[in-house]
């Protein structure tokens, strides 16, 4: 059937195309604009290799949780407990590894399983008993914050074994460091960028064969060149500090995986269907309850992973760990274009949203803006981003 040509869709031309896809590219442009602003305002500190590496490390756990939160929000729910869960899992890891000397790998696996079970416990009430997720996860937020304090007895526990610290503070070992530059890490970044371009070219070919390509050629070339340049440039900067952080690799793999699952697989399609119209999805034979349940299990696992990364980064489990994470995570999704009514939102959007928040945190800190006004500005940016989105949709 794949050689059937379909009716070509209207080609709106370069300008019309950009206008129609403003929503998709608008966020990316905002991120670039914000980065440019802080790069100038901080006299080039923002994009210094050291700072860029820190930026990745500081925001990785929010970005990872945003992947899970996006799915929860797309199904039309919310998870307020992720900060507490991340903190609780960090504490659990500390107790297992520091107090009971459990090796890193089994402890980490147990922690991820525990995260999954926590997600299952909450998702069960939401999916099968139709209790609003806001209430269930508000309860979870209190419960796991409390359990974390109980596990830690109110004390900080650390330091962690070195193997575990590497999770956050380690860098990819380089095979061919010549002249002080990590060529193989750089090569990895370039290969990734080329692979993305190759996928884009292949998809464009397929669409062209079926006569359904709407993107103007010039736009396509410019987009891919920009992407290539951006990935190679950022890789160069990061690599020239201490190499590719392990966390960055984990994050990149997860982003790729979740982007693929949400856009290309039947499960992804069904998740959007549940959020778009749960009753219609159910009458179309989709197991809506099971899908909702699984998005919460997934969220739990990712919150656990984020908790581990955060604990490894601080090299200690503190009773304050994870406070406010849920708000940053949810904000990342909404800045990234997810709809509070469900059914709408993209993985790439949530990640961009996470880094918009991250760059603003980082840039404002460098500029010496107090934590008080940082919060005010972040709040206004969240409101502004969502307002702009709603306005765009109404037009």
């Amino acid at each position: 059937m794949s050689d059937v040509t379909v009716t070509p869709i209207a080609r709106p031309g370069q300008r019309g195309f950009i206008k129609a896809n403003l929503r998709q590219y608008g966020m990316l442009l905002s991120l670039f604009a914000i980065m440019l602003f802080f790069e100038v305002a901080t006299n080039g500190t923002l994009l210094r290799p050291l700072n860029l590496t820190n930026l990745v490390l500081q925001n990785s756990y929010i970005a990872i949780m945003a992947l899970g939160m996006l799915l929860v929000i797309v199904t039309g729910h919310i998870d307020l407990s992720v900060g507490s869960v991340a903190g609780f899992i960090g504490a659990l890891a500390a107790v297992m590894m520091v107090q009971y000397q459990m090796p890193f790998v089994p402890a980490a696996i147990l922690c991820l399983v525990a995260g999954g079970l926590i997600g299952a416990a909450q998702g069960y009430w939401v999916a099968y008993f139709k209790i609003p997720a806001f209430i269930v996860t508000l309860a979870g937020m209190l419960v796991f914050r409390g359990l974390m304090l109980a596990v830690l007895s109110g004390q900080s526990v650390g330091p962690f074994p070195v193997a575990f610290q590497r999770l956050s503070s380690g860098f990819l070992p380089d095979l061919s460091e010549v002249g002080g530059f990590r060529w193989s890490s750089m090569l990895l970044g370039v290969l990734l960028a080329l692979a993305l371009v190759a996928v884009n070219v292949r998809n464009r070919r397929r669409r062209e064969q079926h006569g359904v390509e709407a993107e103007p050629f010039g736009f396509f070339v410019a987009k891919n060149l920009l992407m290539l340049a951006a990935i190679c440039g950022l890789t160069y900067l990061i690599v020239s500090h201490r190499g590719l952080p392990n966390v960055l690799v984990i994050m990149a793999v997860l982003i790729a995986l979740y982007a693929f699952v949400t856009t290309r697989t039947t499960v992804g399609r069904q998740i959007y269907a549940v959020g778009g119209n749960e009753k219609a999805a159910k009458l179309s034979g989709i197991g809506t309850e099971r899908l909702t349940f699984l998005t919460f299990v997934n969220m739990g696992v990712l919150a656990a992973l984020a908790g581990l990364i955060f604990a490894a980064r601080l090299n200690t489990a503190t009773p304050k760990a994870g406070v406010g994470f849920e708000l940053d995570t949810i904000a990342a999704c909404f800045i990234g274009g997810a709809s509070a009514y469900g059914g709408v939102g993209q993985v790439t959007g949530a990640i961009i949203g996470a880094f918009i928040m991250g760059v603003m945190n980082n840039g404002m800190s460098i500029l010496g803006i107090g934590i008080d006004y940082q919060q005010v500005i972040k709040g206004l940016v969240l409101l502004g981003a969502v307002c702009a989105d709603v306005y765009n949709q109404k037009r």
Binding site: M1, S2, Q209, R269, A273, G276, N277, A280, A281, G343
Partner: protein, 510 residues
Amino acid sequence: MADILDMRGITKRFGPVTALRDVSLTVRTGEIHALVGENGAGKSTLMKVLSGVYPAGSYEGSIRYDGQERQFRGINDTEALGIIIIHQELALIPLLSIAENIFLSNPPSRFGVIDRDAVHMRTVALLAKVGLQESPDTLVTDIGVGKQQLVEIAKALSKRVRLLILDEPTASLNERDSAALLDLLVEFRAQGISSILISHKLNEVTKVADRVTVLRDGRTIETVDCRTAPIEEDHIIRRMVDRDLDSRFPDHAPQIGEEVFRVEGWTVDHPQHPGRQVVRGVDFHVRRGEIVGIAGLMGAGRTEFAMSVFGQSYGRDVRGRAFIDGKPVDLSTVPRAIAAGLAYVTEDRKHLGLILGEDIRKNVTLANLGGVSSSTVIDDMRELAVADDYRGRMRIRCSSVYQESGNLSGGNQQKVVLSKWLFSDPEVLILDEPTRGIDVGAKYEIYQIINALADAGKGVIVISSEMPELLGLCDRICVMNEGSFVGEFPRESASQEKIMRSIMRKGEQP
């Protein structure tokens, strides 16, 4: 008689699209004026201009009401003058009582405190006027759609209505409730209240209207006086679509084969009230190539029967046996019902049938994603080809299959829902009110699709509240009443009178 309303030269543009072009409409004091036209002809837009939803200045042309030139700035202006519009989707708040709904915006009060006794007494009086026997304290959610419609009218009366606009008031009503509503309009006419009635049901229009205005493509085509000479439905239909319909139903010679689907002793309890049977011991079958209609009043249990068969989507304690091709099948969940070869096209396509925010393509493949994917990865080009194939075959009018299904007209939305279920390749299709709220031309196309399905050897079950539709389409008509099947008529011997008699006198066999 003087004119209460005179709209002249109304032109309304939305960007480059002209929705109304030089439309004129006059309504005399104390007349029922019907407004007919296909979906998208501009009826609703015209009424929004009249009721002030589109304020003066956003359109061209003039409105004279009650002898004066008017410039309405909003719906408050028009309501103050007694122009009340009742939309197709009722604007009642389900968890408030009838009385609270009626006096929602202007309750009788003293110093801002609502006078409950006055509210109660005035509600009782208003309900008596519209012939609704319910306590003012009953919650709106607990009464049927027909009664809710009457509450809306009572609400209009409380605002001293002089020109009542009803948009498809009987679309979700059964014949008896529809008749009661139309009688009410006739009664209002005697009291000097004018009405504008928008309807797709021409038999109603010819029954009560004094004059009929036909709109097509945003223009006034004709205003016919029904009092001087009786009008012919065919004439109106011709004016609406500008083409002769030899028949409103395509010719069809059925080729009926073996039995494909049968249920025995099907019994379903109400989901909230255990023990109250909504469907009672139904025996029912359909053969390949056969179109079976299910007639009955609203609340007879037809939709409940269909949904309980389709994966127990309705009710609790579903009992009875089901067979496909003579073999017993398990229909306990929707995926199992689909796997067994059933498809159910819902009566409520906006809430239960479509994902309005998604494009046509994603809606078409939703019930059979396996058909466009290999090891759970969707082949987007195969999906596109499938969706485009259905777009062509079903003649879905759209810019492309990437168009959001929420932006389609009712008829095209219904074709998308039908496409979804055809792509799941069922043996038996249950179509619940397949042409509700759809214009005449699209209805004809849907009938053709239904006939083609039967010819392809599927068993087709059609639930409809429009009796002419059942008579024109079905090979056999079953009548349902209070949860039981009370009559069955083959096509040759079926007639409206017989079916109605069967409904009225429960249990009587033909």
